[in-house]
């Protein structure tokens, strides 16, 4: 069933080369929250490379999105460093017992080897299979946890947030440890020919001040980006959900090539402030609009995003502000995809996008 004139890889190549392309790329954040489409649970997904691959195969078949992948995020990275996770049947895993209960525990820890630690090998296995089976048509990527969110899964969020004031030097040591772990994982992902995306929700302005971001997160995110850039020539995608308005400039300065933004921020403002520097992604509300909306509200939300960012100088990818919740109907995600294909078809129908 040919919905598009180009494959996602062809589209990405055309965009990179400044050549004509068929439509705006789009990325509905799915992955573990699309488990219901293959009749499995999120807990089972997190324990099986096969299921991770199957979710991507099936959702790509259904929606034709511009990227597939699987990644440990910050939860499985924390687990690889020794945190015991709790895996609810149908929810994202959370910290049962943190690897660092007392700062003395930090002395025992070493960066985790992605070939053997925790469940990191499962993700690498899934990425390899995705690359082998789907890699000729669609880019394959992996979400790796950013330093602060991964640190929160090693130390416990409450404790880590307090430690930023009470034990800053310990926090820095922890940030370097998780960064060293992430870099090993990133090396393995890049060796498979896959792309790197970073997720660091605890680092947003909804949680911490911009000053704390600059002190405890930015220098480490820069290490992530430097590694990706050294091996690929380009930076990673950086997704920080929550209110990042005050740290967009800092996010650009980490060396990320693409910023993925939550629906709580103003995409148009981001385009004005950093659109000349990085590609932008975002920011349709995955809950109120994609999960709970109607075809009309989904279409309108996509139109609003295109209106604000379709001409962003360094490029724009239509995406959701964060993950689409488990149980969202195929029909609603299709509405999102269809809106990208109609409104986002190039050359853009300016009257339709700007409603003139």
């Amino acid at each position: 069933m040919a919905r598009d004139e180009m494959t996602p890889l062809e589209r990405a190549a055309a965009i990179a080369a400044g050549k004509p392309f068929d439509r705006i790329p789009f990325a509905p954040f799915l992955g573990e929250t699309a488990s219901h489409f293959i009749g499995t649970t999120m807990a089972q997904y997190r324990h099986s490379a096969e299921l991770m691959v199957e979710v991507e195969r099936v959702t790509y078949e259904m929606f034709g999105q511009d990227g597939v992948g699987a990644g440990p995020g910050y939860q499985a990275l924390g687990e690889a460093l020794g945190t015991k996770l709790i895996f609810p049947e149908n929810n994202t895993p959370y910290v049962g017992e943190p690897a660092i209960k007392d700062w003395k525990d930090l002395d025992r820890l070493e960066p985790a080897d992605p070939r053997t630690a925790g469940k990191l090998p499962l993700y690498l296995e899934a990425l390899k299979a995705l690359k082998d089976t789907m890699g000729k048509d669609v880019p394959v990527g992996s979400f790796v946890g950013g330093p602060l969110s991964t640190g929160a899964f090693v130390r416990g969020t409450d404790a880590l947030l307090r430690d930023m004031t009470k034990h800053p030097e310990k926090v820095h040591r922890l940030m370097q440890l998780v960064t060293d772990t992430a870099l090993l994982y990133i090396d393995a992902v890049l060796a498979l020919g896959c792309g790197v995306s970073i997720a660091d929700p605890v680092a947003s302005g909804t949680m911490i001040s911009a000053a704390n971001f600059r002190e405890f997160v930015k220098p480490y995110l820069k290490q992530y980006a430097d590694r990706v850039r050294a091996k690929t020539g380009g930076g990673p995608m950086l997704h920080i959900c929550g209110n990042t308005t005050r740290i967009w400039r800092d996010m650009v300065e980490t060396g990320a090539s693409t910023l993925s933004l939550d629906n709580v921020v103003d995409l148009g403002a981001a385009r004005k402030q950093v659109g000349r520097d990085v590609c932008l992604m975002g920011n349709v509300d995955p809950v109120a609009v994609v999960a709970q909306g109607t075809p009309e509200t989904i279409y309108e939300a996509v139109r609003q995003c295109l209106m604000q960012a379709c001409d962003s100088p360094k490029g724009y990818v239509l995406a959701t502000g964060c993950q689409i919740p488990l149980g969202t109907s195929a029909e609603n995600i299709r509405c999102f995809a269809d809106a990208a294909r109609t409104l986002g078809s190039y050359p853009l129908d300016k009257d339709a996008v700007y409603e003139r």
Binding site: P88, N90, N91, T92, Y94, V95, T157, D158, L161, R162, M164, T165, K166, G205, M207, I208, S209, N212, R246, P286, V287, A288, A291, P325, L326, G327
Partner: protein, 221 residues
Amino acid sequence: MAERENEIIERLITGVRDMDEALTVEAAEDALREKVEPLRAINEGLVVGMHEAGRLYEQEEYFVPELLLCSDALYAGMDILAPHLTPDPSRTKTTVVMGVVAGDTHDIGKNLVKLMLEVSGFAVCDLGRDVPLAAFVDKVVELEAGLLCMSTLMSTTMDGMGTVIRELERKGVRKAVKVLVGGGPLSQAFAERIGADGYASNATGAVKLARRLTLGEAAAA
């Protein structure tokens, strides 16, 4: 004498607002020594400090880490002063049952709301996080609570709040309790859809709303 008292009160305010546990503890001990009324030390000292912290949070000067440290200082002061409070039998406090909905463990926001409700004079029963839906209902009935506060950061657990409200209706106690909801994926529209009495987007808003819902417009001012 009054000057000395005011100086101690100032230090209690500053200690909490400036996240200075040591200063707060020292001032609380001085308050006891100088025979400052414990209730005055708490309400005009510690609580005012927390409200100032709340204002700094709304102004985006303070963020979650700062509020956590302010609350640590406040609780340290409370630990010293609260045992010396003489209970006032004429004052009936509204009982609040609160918790994070089953399936979710994000509780920083809930803990901040709990703290602010306690310092505002509510008697709080905190069920914690990942609370089974039936537990909310059972505790509201058991304590004859005037207020139920439910929180979640996850879209997948939101609907549980609606289930709790329907169960309160089924048990015939819905009218006796005000239901206040909050958390990242929530909205005013969602709160109305599930039949809650109110929605707040942050801790300071939650307390204002809680007072308005339970005491009426005039008292909440």
